[in-house]
């Protein structure tokens, strides 16, 4: 088993311990305390952070030198048997999302859009934005990054190579492209950040949905009808693994005439949608996060609440709709601007 790519000396010499000091869910009185806890984690000692962590991935982004603090934390949780959620909950989900061996060879041609394990989302791939696209979907190509929320790095190590192999063997090997458009940025995070940190080889080229939309909008620029609306954006945990794409999203919004209104809980301060804390049986914390987040959204007077992650939308969509904001995925917002 390859260990997580990580350099302990970097943390010893780190002046800011941003990974913990910037955390929105675990508090430290000063940098010294944060450093003490971080070094405990690194040294495989008990740390309260292992128990209190919300598993929001944000420390991956906060670390200024990409030293994989979150992946290491999950590794330590699993080593110590610290379960963020009750055992039956984790076990049932492991079974639900397990590869079913139902995959069959399918002729695909570019652009090939990876819908992860969620067939209900394939309807999003339509119109000019996805012209000529093939979709692939199912638990046999599930990215498996969700196990970071459940102290299951071992499952990631076990299943991700199999998924990659399935994608290649059943779809891309005989396709006219080696690019895989990741509709969910958890997939992109898996095949870039996770794969790199865990030493998993990826034989295809993952393309983030935002990069794909951005390029398509350049091609389709004559079809764009600016929506001229204010939007708030719910940045998901998985985007912490590919923060460079947030700038691409800004370009997309600019091209379609959507004003991403500045609010407190966006960018690096993005708040968890509440879904994972509920899985961790921390509903009251989830309620608090949802209330703070939606109140913040409402305070800036937007029309749309734009989601990148379908799970965030499933978790928050109804709540934001009841408060008068229209929940919508980035792809659907772009399609509105394309007159579809």
């Amino acid at each position: 088993m390859k260990s997580i790519k990580f350099n302990p000396d970097v943390c010893v010499n780190c002046e800011t311990i941003d990974c913990l000091m910037k955390c929105q869910y675990v508090s430290f009185k000063d940098v010294a305390e944060a450093r003490e806890e971080k070094l405990k984690i690194n040294d495989k000692k008990d740390s309260r952070v292992l128990e209190e962590c919300l598993t929001c991935y944000a420390c991956q982004e906060y670390c200024p030198v990409n030293n994989n603090p979150f992946y290491l934390l999950v590794e330590r949780q699993e080593e110590k048997g610290i379960l963020p959620a009750p055992r039956p909950i984790i076990e049932e989900q492991l079974r639900m999302m397990a590869p079913k061996g139902r995959i069959t060879k399918q002729k695909v041609s570019g652009p090939v859009v990876d819908m992860c394990a969620f067939p209900m989302l394939t309807g999003c791939v339509r119109g000019k934005l996805f012209e000529g696209a093939s979709t692939i979907v199912g638990t046999d190509i599930f990215c498996n990054i969700m196990w970071l929320h459940f102290a299951k790095n071992s499952t990631i190590r076990e299943r991700v190579p199999e998924m990659i192999d399935n994608i290649m063997s059943f779809y891309l090997k005989d396709a006219d492209t080696d690019e895989l458009i990741c509709f969910h940025d958890e997939c992109f995070g898996t095949y870039t950040s996770v794969a790199d940190a865990y030493g998993i080889a990826v034989p295809f080229k993952p393309v983030h949905q935002f990069d794909y939309y951005n390029q398509r909008l350049d091609i389709l620029k004559d079809s764009i009808k600016p929506i001229n609306a204010k939007i708030v954006y719910q940045r998901p945990c998985s985007n912490r693994l590919c923060p460079q794409t947030d700038k691409v999203l800004d370009e997309i919004f600019e091209k379609i005439g959507a004003e991403r209104v500045v609010r407190k809980y966006d960018r690096q301060n993005a708040l968890c949608c509440g879904g994972v804390p509920r899985a961790h049986q921390r509903d009251e914390l989830a309620d608090e996060l949802v209330e703070k987040n939606i109140n913040d959204m409402l305070s800036v007077g937007a029309t749309y609440c734009v989601f990148n992650c379908p799970f965030c939308m499933a978790t928050l969509g109804q709540e934001v709709a009841e408060k008068g904001l229209m929940p919508i995925l980035v792809s659907d917002l772009v399609q509105i601007a394309l007159g579809e």
Binding site: P88, R278, Q281, G317
Partner: protein, 459 residues
């Protein structure tokens, strides 16, 4: 005699509503369960109490058995004409006579279906609801009350017979009587404070009279509804978990389920907990109470609530639940039966293990579960077996499994619910002799000619 019977029934209800034809006799000879067919000589559909009375008088005159029937969905063959005679199909008597929103009860005719009352309340009294069983919506109110049915408000209000407020019944002699408050005041608000004569007709498998009207309790229909699914891995914890959850007095319905399909659920014990509230704040408060009641198990990481985003909750909030119907179709061929046994909550682990052992022994497709009745006062534990009716071996396997389950349920201390004829005999075998003797004397008094659904509750 049959031609004479048909003609005379036709004079009572009109020729369109009586039949002695082979097709009808076949269709009415069975239900979807495993009990062998037993065809009636005639099927009749009365339109009102007077017609029921006349049919009963005719049956007495000709000494012909009569079998009252709602939707025929009891699954345990209670509406088969074991000794021939007339099946009285009550479906035409489907009027909703009264809804009292202030005292929260409805008065309906004996053939009114669950779906009709639900639809009526939704349209005319959206602030009210009644407790629906997880049967197809055509199941009748009266039929379900008479078998001590239960439904999606049973934690709140007990079994459906507990929700009964009174009845109008045509006795086997043809007399019409009323039970409950309506026998004195004309209003159908309660069975108390009178001698509770409704008990003469509930649980008797149609052997003591024909229910032509009944009053049923209604409950507030909440604006906000939610469901939690608690998952555990140790059956021995279930009685205490159920006790703690019901101790909050928050849930409207609690239905444990254990099934090998879907595969992710195999080996785990789930409890669906439905609850509602008038405001979101109240809903959250209730959720917190439920979660706090089992926090100890959550903190030990041995049980917890399944994370369900709002869009995934819809199917669990459907009333009636579609899941049992899906299971019923598992083997295709339209066969489905279950032993529901009423028993004390503490027998949950034994019942669960007995169900698993029987399913393995007889190699049958199974689904085990329960509905909690009252605030943890008892439960209806069900052992459901799907089978293919067109496959005789499959039917035999399911039938043998059901028989073994009845035996196991009685051994555990439970009592088979809406018991089919062989199970009735098993129950009688364990029953206090004085009780059975009194049952026989009551029947002999009410039905001296022995015309009411003969073959049931007999040795």
């Amino acid at each position: 005699m049959t031609t004479d019977l048909i003609n005379r029934l036709g004079k009572i209800v009109g020729p369109r509503f009586v039949s002695g034809e082979a097709e009808e006799r076949y269709l009415y000879s069975m239900d979807p369960g495993t009990m062998p067919a037993a065809a009636p000589d005639a099927v009749v559909m009365p339109a009102n109490t007077k017609e029921v009375q006349q049919i009963v008088a005719l049956a007495n005159e000709l000494n012909v058995p009569i079998v009252p029937m709602g939707a025929g969905l009891v699954l345990s063959g209670l509406t088969r004409a074991l000794k021939g005679g007339i099946i009285i199909d009550m479906k035409r008597m489907n009027h909703i006579i009264e809804v009292n929103p202030q005292s929260r009860y409805a008065v309906v005719e004996g053939g009114t279906s669950q779906g009709m009352l639900k639809a009526y309340l939704k349209k005319h009294h959206p602030q009210l609801k009644h407790s629906m069983p997880d049967a197809p919506p055509i199941a009748t109110m009266a039929g379900n009350v008479c078998i001590h049915g239960s439904g999606h408000l049973s934690v709140l209000g007990g079994s459906h017979s507990d929700m009964l407020t009174g009845m109008e019944v045509v006795l086997p002699s043809g007399e019409i009587i009323r039970t409950g408050s309506c026998s004195v005041s004309g209003e159908w608000f309660a069975r108390s404070p009178l001698p509770d004569l409704s008990g003469l007709f509930v649980g008797w498998a149609g052997t003591t009279g024909i229910v032509t009207k009944l009053g049923i309790k209604l409950f507030p229909n909440y604006k906000h509804n939610d469901v939690l699914i608690f998952v555990a891995e140790d059956a021995d914890l279930m009685p205490e978990i159920i006790s703690r959850l019901t101790n909050t007095q928050v849930a409207e319905d609690m239905t444990p389920w254990m099934s090998p399909k879907p595969a992710w659920a195999k080996g785990f014990l789930h409890i669906n907990i439905a609850y509602g509230a008038h405001t979101k704040k109240e809903l959250t408060f209730k959720r917190n109470l439920l979660q706090a009641s089992v926090r100890e198990y959550i903190d030990q990481k041995i049980a917890g609530f399944l994370p369900l985003p709002p869009p995934q909750k819809g199917r669990f909030l459907e009333i009636p639940s579609p899941d049992l119907a899906r299971f019923a179709d598992l083997r295709k061929g339209g066969g489905f039966e279950y032993v529901g046994a009423m028993m004390a909550i503490e027998h949950f682990p034994e019942a669960y293990r007995a169900g698993l052992a029987i399913a393995e022994k007889f190699n049958v497709s199974y689904s085990l579960g329960a509905r909690i009745i009252g605030a943890g006062h008892c439960m209806m534990f069900f052992f459901a077996y799907a089978f293919n009716r067109a496959d005789a071996e499959d039917v035999k396997r399911a039938s043998d499994a059901l028989d073994a389950t009845n035996t196991a349920a009685l051994k555990i201390g439970g009592i088979p619910w809406k018991a089919e004829q062989p199970a009735q005999k098993q129950i009688i075998g364990k029953m206090d002799p004085g009780t059975f003797s009194l049952m026989n004397r009551i029947r002999a008094t009410l039905d001296p000619n022995g015309i009411m659904n003969p073959g049931n509750w007999e040795i």
